[in-house]
């Protein structure tokens, strides 16, 4: 492997992450699991599209429209390369990962699931991979089963074969947005396939942090969101095997997704446009591709190594300073976790932690992190979550520890 990635150097590529805010206050951004900051190259790529090559895509014969289309479809190629998709046409641009999951539930689900059919989820899913299935439970009566947790915050796969027996779909997160736990997707996909089920992966927290290879994962659907991969908001990705996408009904109806429309009917366009009704997020796709290219330049193996190193430093630092008074909900095994630190202090509620941290410029997210069933399993209402990314360094972790110490001091005076 090349020399290790240096978060302090990477940070310089992100305009918002200067040492001070415009009002002179400090900024320590530790909420990338919620949304990542953007490097200058992403802003430049979007600006450049609007300044030099913007028009609607797949419409104009004129050169400008062709240029915009080339950039939009070029972004699709970049995404396909980044996740190891065998075919570009398998990459569908959506609004975000939530829309990707809903697309599958509404189209594949509607065509393939009926009363009593089983969908297997896990206890550490984000609401985006729960509510679409609860909706199908209400509307057509599908049955949900849940993969539980081990004592070390991993998915308990000891009864996996039993859980997936007779299931039509297994849909799990690749990395928990609350615990940082990394899922053994391949084992789950293999079990699903043995049982005749398909496997969907919510990779919103995986794709930004680890090398992605949909073929190695052997999943059937994979979704992620653009703004966590250094891209803009308003764009996400659904990848699925083309034979599955071909067999699925269309999602939204409108322009772009049709081959022909008559007063008495319509025929559907080919992949991927079949699932991209209306004018798509063009500049957002270009921005996402620029974010991905930035990560490719860093190298995803180095990104992962950096985050393992920084997570180890954070766990050591926080444990040394706060001992048992600070609970960190997440796996102890570094190889099985990402840089998500869900914190709970004995005496101080996570909201109050986050409030005091903000006074020190430290941004963490407090709350249930859109994973209420998981919070109930953990027996907590909320956690304060610090999450690490490419632009974080040890000084950010130190600032977190100092601000936490100030929090304890403030509330125990």
């Amino acid at each position: 492997m090349d020399h290790p990635l240096d978060g302090t150097v990477v940070k310089k590529d992100f305009p918002l992450l200067g040492d001070l805010r415009p009002d002179g206050s400090p900024l320590v951004y530790l909420d990338s699991a919620s949304s990542a900051q953007k490097p200058q190259s992403v802003l430049d790529a979007m600006d450049d599209l609007y300044c030099t090559s913007y028009a609607n895509v797949h419409r104009g014969v004129y050169r400008l429209g062709v240029e915009a289309t080339d950039r939009y479809e070029g972004a699709r190629r970049t995404v396909a390369r980044f996740i190891g998709a065998p075919h570009e046409r398998e990459v569908i641009f959506t609004k975000n990962v939530t829309e990707a999951m809903n697309l599958v539930a509404r189209t594949w689900g509607a065509a393939n699931l009926g009363a009593g059919d089983v969908v297997v989820l896990s206890d550490m899913e984000h609401h985006a991979n729960i509510v679409p299935w609860l909706m199908l439970a209400e509307s057509v009566g599908i049955e949900l089963r849940w993969i539980g947790l081990t004592d070390d915050y991993q998915l308990d796969l000891s009864n996996l074969d039993q859980l997936v027996d007779g299931a039509k779909l297994v849909s799990v997160t690749a990395m928990s947005n609350v615990l940082g736990s990394i899922t053994d997707v391949r084992t789950i996909a293999d079990a699903a396939h043995s049982a005749g089920a398909l496997c969907m992966v919510d990779a919103a927290q995986w794709v930004p942090h680890l090398p992605t290879d949909v073929v190695a994962m052997d999943c059937d659907f994979l979704g992620f969101t653009g703004h966590k991969v250094l891209g803009p908001t308003g764009i996400g990705v659904l990848w699925a095997r083309s034979e599955i996408l071909d067999a699925m009904p269309a999602f939204l109806g409108g322009g772009e997704m049709i081959r022909d429309v008559r007063k008495d009917g319509w025929t559907v366009n080919e992949l991927p446009w079949k699932f991209e009704a209306g004018t798509p997020p063009i500049a957002e796709a270009v921005g996402l591709a620029a974010g991905i290219e930035y990560l490719e330049t860093l190298g995803m193996d180095r990104v992962r190594a950096h985050e393992v190193d920084l997570t180890a430093y954070a766990l050591d630092t926080l444990t040394a300073r706060f001992g048992d008074t600070l609970t960190i909900h997440g796996p102890s095994d570094l190889s099985a976790r990402g840089g998500v630190l869900s914190l709970a202090l004995d005496e101080v509620h996570p909201h109050d932690i986050s409030q005091v941290l903000d006074q020190h410029g430290v941004c963490v997210r407090a709350g249930h992190h859109c994973a209420k069933p998981l919070m109930r399993e953990l027996g907590v209402g909320a956690t304060a979550r610090a999450s690490l990314y490419v632009y974080n360094d040890r000084s950010d972790v130190d600032a977190l520890a100092d601000a936490l110490a100030a929090t304890v001091e403030f509330f125990t005076l």
Binding site: H349, H351, D352, Q355, V356, Q359, G367, G381, A382, F410
Partner: protein, 160 residues
Amino acid sequence: MPGLEDLYREIILDHYRNPRNRGELPVPPAHRTEGFNPLCGDEVVVFLELTDGKVTDVRIAGQGCSISQSSASMMSSAVKGLSIEEVARLTRAFKDMMSIHESSLEGADADSEAESELEEIELGDLEALRGVVKFPVRIKCATLSWNTLSQAIEDTLADS
């Protein structure tokens, strides 16, 4: 930037550490109503006993941050023994302090009649929560228990 002492007044921390009227009441005769802050997962459960249009007893359960829990504690102390009408007035005065009051301080057009009505209402300990308006994200924490109480009164009246 407003300071922490604007938000976390000593009396708030006291109610947080030593919440008043914490617990449950047998249902019935009491009514149980849950309130959620969907943003953060804070949860307040109000057990309300109304007799002849008066709050004869109230208990608070649930979990949440210092602001939501202290607000619930102060509320429980403030409304015990009040009539439904008095609770409604106090609720309005409290919510005004949480929102409208701030803009009127800044010289926006104040409804003088409503203003004078508000001034007559004794907020007592609840005044300590005034600083919350400087932290807009936390206003929902402070009003959660009050909204839940209003719902509890509605539910109780609907049932009787």
